[in-house]
């Protein structure tokens, strides 16, 4: 690893706070990439980011076509029914070409790679969720204090 003389990164803690496709994937790619480089990784899902680990929702993560200037789509077109589903399916096809797996498969792969996966207790309580609402890869539901404990020595990334 070429680190230009700097100490290499040893550990990352990645917070996922958004539940859109573009909110979820960067964090998953970074967590997986960290493990591929031998860097310890922890994923902490909070607020709408929880959708990526909720068993009934994780297969329906969609790209936002409204309020998303990066889509280069006029807002009035973005609101057309089916537009988000269409954009999502197009994007998923492109991702498949790059070997980027669907959310569920990706979460399994990352967890099998040794990345710990946690849900934020405050958000879980706020949305009235329980441990069995989540996919089996979720290690625990933890409060923010414990997140910081587990992040000792890590670079914390908020996405």
């Amino acid at each position: 690893m070429n680190t230009n003389g700097h100490e290499p990164i040893k550990k990352v803690s990645i917070i996922v706070s958004r539940g859109s496709l573009d909110g979820v994937y960067p964090a998953l790619i970074m967590a997986n990439g960290a493990r591929m480089e031998g860097i310890e990784a922890t994923l902490f899902f909070t607020f709408f980011g929880l959708d990526a680990i909720i068993d009934k929702r994780m297969d329906n993560i969609k790209v936002a076509t409204v309020g998303n200037p990066g889509m280069h789509l006029p807002t009035l077109l973005g609101i057309i029914p089916g537009m988000s589903a269409f954009a999502t399916s197009k994007m998923k096809k492109e991702m498949e070409k790059l070997d980027i797996p669907p959310v569920r498969e990706f979460i399994t792969m990352i967890h099998d790679a040794g990345c710990d996966i946690y849900a934020c207790k405050a958000s879980v309580d706020m949305f009235h969720l329980k441990k069995n609402d989540f996919c089996k890869e979720v290690d625990d539901i933890i409060p923010v204090g414990q997140f910081y404990e587990k992040s000792a020595g890590a670079e914390i990334l908020f996405t």
Binding site: N2, M36, D99
Partner: protein
């Protein structure tokens, strides 16, 4: 082992320590490269991954992603990380005499 270890020192390497000429590679060199990566013995399971990587590289021109390894090599993610600790795709590519995989996944 000493002679092989000496032999790997004379091999041309890139900045990441991967050997430059695929044609320099053979099984003995793979063993020596594995030792450098802290893997004392290459088992049959290691070889399943190494051989899959070399095949993919020959067919596609790039070493496979961790996802393709997981899905198609017959060795699952957990085992991949157990066989090649701290970065299976990168380490297996190095031992297989291939350049570092370019993909992000």
């Amino acid at each position: 082992m000493t002679t092989v270890a000496t032999e790997t020192k004379t091999l041309e390497r890139d900045a990441d320590g991967h050997i430059k000429n695929i044609s320099d590679w053979n099984e003995q060199i793979a063993n020596a490269l594995a030792l450098e990566e802290g893997i004392p013995v290459l088992t049959e399971r290691h070889w399943a991954v190494i051989n899959f990587m070399r095949k993919e590289f020959q067919e596609k021109g790039d070493a496979p992603s961790i996802r393709r390894l997981t899905k198609e090599s017959g060795v699952e993610t957990k085992e991949l990380y157990a066989l090649f600790p701290k970065g299976p795709a990168k380490k297996a590519a190095k031992i297989a005499g291939l350049p570092k995989p370019k993909g992000c996944i």
